[in-house]
């Protein structure tokens, strides 16, 4: 079987448009004849031509997102296949949403590595739960009592634990694929931050 467009790209060959044989910068559309191609098998990073790493430049991601989105827009290409165009832009939106978020991006990298996801694993240190419980209790009390100072200090506490966990996630996600131990630690941190995120929405 002839390799698909995606496979050829993975193999490092310059992508060629199947319709006009012109070179393609994006795997999704041809600048010359304006043909569109489905994103089959491309991961979120590949959609934007980015390397699958945790540290991505937000400005570059944004720029790629706008550029590729414009390229698949129905106004731009002439083939009239608006359903493929819509489908692609939904995929691009989703990919951008995930990659632009530091927690979702780490979760996604873990997913690309394979193995158990944080959601399946559910592991979380007991003290994360008891701290979350205590803080939510105190936040609720402070709110009922109208104690702005207490609310403020609990808020600072909640933000501090959130920032700490996010730093751990970044450190571990940079090591991906890593070993099973670092992946397990990343899963735990990803689960823990769900409780810290919830705390912040309660403030």
């Amino acid at each position: 079987m002839a390799p698909t467009e995606t496979e050829r790209q993975r193999q490092g060959a310059p992508a060629k448009c199947a319709a006009c044989a012109g070179p393609m910068d994006s795997p999704l559309f041809c600048d010359h004849c304006r043909s569109l191609y489905p994103a089959d098998g491309l991961n979120h990073f590949e959609l934007f031509g980015l390397a699958p790493t945790y540290d991505i430049d937000p400005a570059l991601l944004r720029q790629k997102y706008l550029q590729v989105s414009r390229g698949v827009h129905p106004d731009y290409h002439s083939t009239g296949d608006s359903s493929l165009s819509l489908h692609l832009s939904a995929q691009l939106n989703e990919a951008h949403r995930v990659l632009a978020d530091p927690v979702l991006r780490a979760e996604y990298l873990l997913e690309l590595v394979g193995g158990k996801s944080a959601k399946e694993d559910k592991s979380v240190p007991p003290e994360v739960l008891s701290t979350a419980l205590l803080l939510r209790e105190e936040i609720q009390e402070a709110r009922t009592a109208g104690d702005a100072a207490a609310l403020e200090s609990r808020g600072a506490q909640a933000r501090a634990v959130y920032e700490r966990t996010l730093a751990t996630i970044a450190e571990l996600a940079r090591q991906m694929p890593g070993d099973e131990r670092s992946r397990a630690r990343l899963r735990t941190a990803l689960n823990s931050i769900k409780y810290h995120q919830k705390l912040l929405t309660e403030l």
Binding site: L129, A132, L133, E137, Q197
Partner: protein, 141 residues
């Protein structure tokens, strides 16, 4: 989707909200969480000398379905022997409260909390060390 009367009743008038003395040798404490939403629940049981659950209290920081689930769970386990309380299944709660699929994890929280509270109590019984750090027996399954 309209919620059933039962859930509204348990949500608006939750039974058994509160705390028990977690350092008492006859009190088991379970603290559990749902990573799906980041909500947490504490459920405590008090047993008599025959290991019958004579009281149960909870504090839930979660949605209405979680509050109703824990209210129902505490009502259900009160007066039952420990081992029977272990039979409580989240699917029973789902059925009783007519919870929609997106709220299933909220009922799981209540089942997990009952199990964690019982496990904590049992740990207190067997190892003296376990009672010194009540958190040690909590679980987030």
């Amino acid at each position: 989707m309209a919620y059933g009367e039962k859930i509204i009743d348990h949500y608006q008038n939750p039974r058994n909200v509160g705390s028990l003395d977690r350092n008492s040798p006859n009190v088991g404490t379970g603290i559990v969480g749902a990573p799906e939403c980041g909500d947490v629940m504490k459920l405590q049981i008090l047993v008599d000398e025959h290991d019958n659950i004579v009281d149960a209290k909870f504090k839930t920081f979660g949605c209405g379905s979680a509050i109703a689930s824990s209210s129902l769970a505490t009502e259900w386990i009160k007066g039952r022997p420990l081992d029977e309380a272990l039979e409580l299944k989240n699917t029973d709660i789902v059925k009783e409260l007519a919870l929609p699929p997106v709220k299933i994890h909220c009922s799981v929280l209540a089942e997990d909390a009952v199990r964690a509270a019982i496990a904590d109590l049992k740990a207190k019984r067997t190892g003296r060390g376990a009672s010194a750090t009540p958190e040690a027996a909590t679980t987030a399954k």
